[in-house]
Amino acid sequence: MRARRWRALLWLGPSLLLIAGVVFYPAVALVRSSLGRYSVTGLFQGSVGVANYARLLEQPALSTVLVNTATWVTAVVGVTVAVSLALAQLLHQDFPGRTLVRWALIVPWAASLIMTSKLFVWIYDYYFGVLNHLLTSVGVLSRPIDWLGDDATVMGAMIAVGIFVSLPFTTYVLLAGLAGIPGEVYEAARVDGASAWTTYRLVTLPLLQPALLVAVVLNVIYVFNSFPIVWTLNDRNPGFAHDTMITYMYKIAFKSALRDVGLAAALGVVNVALILLAVFAYLKTIRWDDGAPAAGRA
């Protein structure tokens, strides 16, 4: 048994080293930093216990940032999943050109998020952006809107981009779920004379539930962690009025006058804890497959 353990270590070694060095160690460094005080140049100036966490709670921007994060995650994930259900239903059908449509859907998924974000900064532009031009010329708007500068529209504009880039992955997960539903159950529903909508509600949706769960939880994690969209589209606005917990953390650590490593690390620990919570909830609900060896799975 001991010999096998050592042999396993040999085969898993490189992976373990990478995970330990670049995932586990930074997590430890994060916790340690959250308990320390640092100069603006990043030098350690001694331990302060949990003082950074106490200071975090006193930050005037904190409540806004929490509300923003909740809005951002709920709206992006909610709308993405709802729209993806329809898209998956469409792409599950067989029609001429389906492969091309599926390829088109890949583009926002494959493209760098920072490039897509910059693209939308341009599209949303007050003077030169296509969006205002389009909406005013068809009469939806009587005058242009400063989408990324007006406090009333920034969050909505960011959420729209968040949905746009989350649709492909979500649709693909749901498509895989649909592909796993055996054709016979639809046959049975048809014989029973169920309408298309009834069949969808009573047959498809319940059988799609596992895929739906995966789509929701993974999206919650991805969208919570999302950085480039909020970072780029909210770039012009001073302060923290439209930041999420991730971009707020980043600004505290690296950008604002604060450059407060300890405070940012404390928020980082909170972020990591929230993600871990979601990850564990996810792994508890899915039947994650540790693949019995040589069981002949494809």
């Binding site: 898993l12 490189p14 992976s15 990478l18 995970i19 060095g21 670049v22 995932v23 160690y25 930074p26 997590a27 994060l30 930093s33 990043g42 469409l90 067989d94 029609f95 050109g97 091309l100 449509v101 390829w103 088109a104 890949i106 926002p108 493209a111 760098s112 920072i114 490039m115 910059k118 693209l119 341009w122 599209i123 003077y127 030169f128 296509v130 746009f164 997960v173 895989a176 779920g177 596992p210 993974l218 994690i221 991805y222 962690n225 480039p228 980043y250 690296f254 690390a265 980082g268 990591v272 993600i275 990850v279 996810y282 994650w288 497959d289 540790d290 060896p293 040589a294 002949g296 494809a298």
Partner: protein
């Protein structure tokens, strides 16, 4: 009739999804003077494909491209070298700690470096590795490892043991079997793992933004943003560079489309 309606819906969907990227390409083809006109025009009046040439011949762009290629290329090699033995061993053997290992791998897959970025910065700052290729390469390799382990494991598990046993009889060592028999038979899995790891590193932003502050050490994702700042607004160059960066990865992504979901959801969607 129904198929025609579905096709129409499909075309509408494709147009909506692609429309922003059409704006990207058309803006990339505009001369400077046409960028700041109101009302804006969608298509250029004078087509300026030479914008692409301007970008390609920009020495700064060459630096960013080189960094992106090195970081994505080397981190992908590391991913495969580390993932293949782990995937093979966990697919073929039961041993103490196997489930724990796979659990840790799953957890890292769902962790993007974003939440850990302050800790990553502290680590590399203390090791004096800020602004080095090594830091960015290792970070990308570690966070893209899980997907590769998962996808390779599924392919390895589907290869009949008899083939390996035959190779072993012929005098192949364990690593020899992996390199000469298993990997060649897992072609699609290997291609998927390689393409995914490459694209993920190619598109990575936050760690590069944080660690690579020297101009000649910035990858494309970070570098191209300097085409549009508070002082200069070369949207056409920004989008020409973006187009050049996006087109190849879209093609690569389309190649592995069928395997992506399985790898990203770690076998939970059947």
């Amino acid at each position: 009739m129904r198929r025609a309606a579905l096709s129409l819906a499909g075309i509408v969907l494709a147009c909506v999804v692609l429309a922003p990227y059409v704006v990207m390409v058309l803006t990339a083809l505009k001369p400077d003077a046409e960028l700041r006109v109101t009302p804006p025009r969608i298509a250029p009046q004078t087509w300026r494909p030479s914008n692409f040439w301007d970008v390609v011949s920009d020495p700064a762009f060459a630096d960013w491209l080189r960094v992106s290629l090195v970081v994505a290329g080397v981190s992908t090699v590391i991913v495969v070298l580390a993932a293949a033995p782990a995937a093979y061993y966990t697919a073929r053997h039961r041993f103490p700690g196997r489930t724990a290992f796979l659990f840790v791998v799953l957890v890292t897959q769902m962790f993007s470096p974003t939440a850990l970025v302050v800790g990553l910065y502290r680590e590399f700052f203390e090791l004096d590795l800020v602004n080095t290729y090594a830091a960015l390469i290792l970070t990308n390799a570690a966070f893209n490892l899980a997907f590769a382990i998962w996808i390779l494991r599924a392919f390895f598990a589907s290869i009949p043991r008899e083939i390996e046993e035959a190779a072993a009889v012929d005098g192949c060592g364990r690593l020899g079997v992996l390199a000469r028999v298993i990997l060649p038979l897992s072609g699609p899995g290997l291609v998927t793992a390689v393409i995914f790891a490459f694209i993920a590193a190619w598109n990575e932003y936050i760690v590069a933004l944080t660690l690579m502050t020297a101009p000649e050490r910035k990858p494309l994702t970070v570098g191209i943003t300097s085409y549009v700042t508070a002082y200069v607004q070369h949207w056409n160059h920004l989008f020409a560079a973006s187009t050049l960066a996006i087109v190849p990865v879209v093609v690569l992504f389309a190649l592995i489309e069928r395997h992506l979901v399985g790898g990203l959801t770690a076998g939970s969607v059947k």
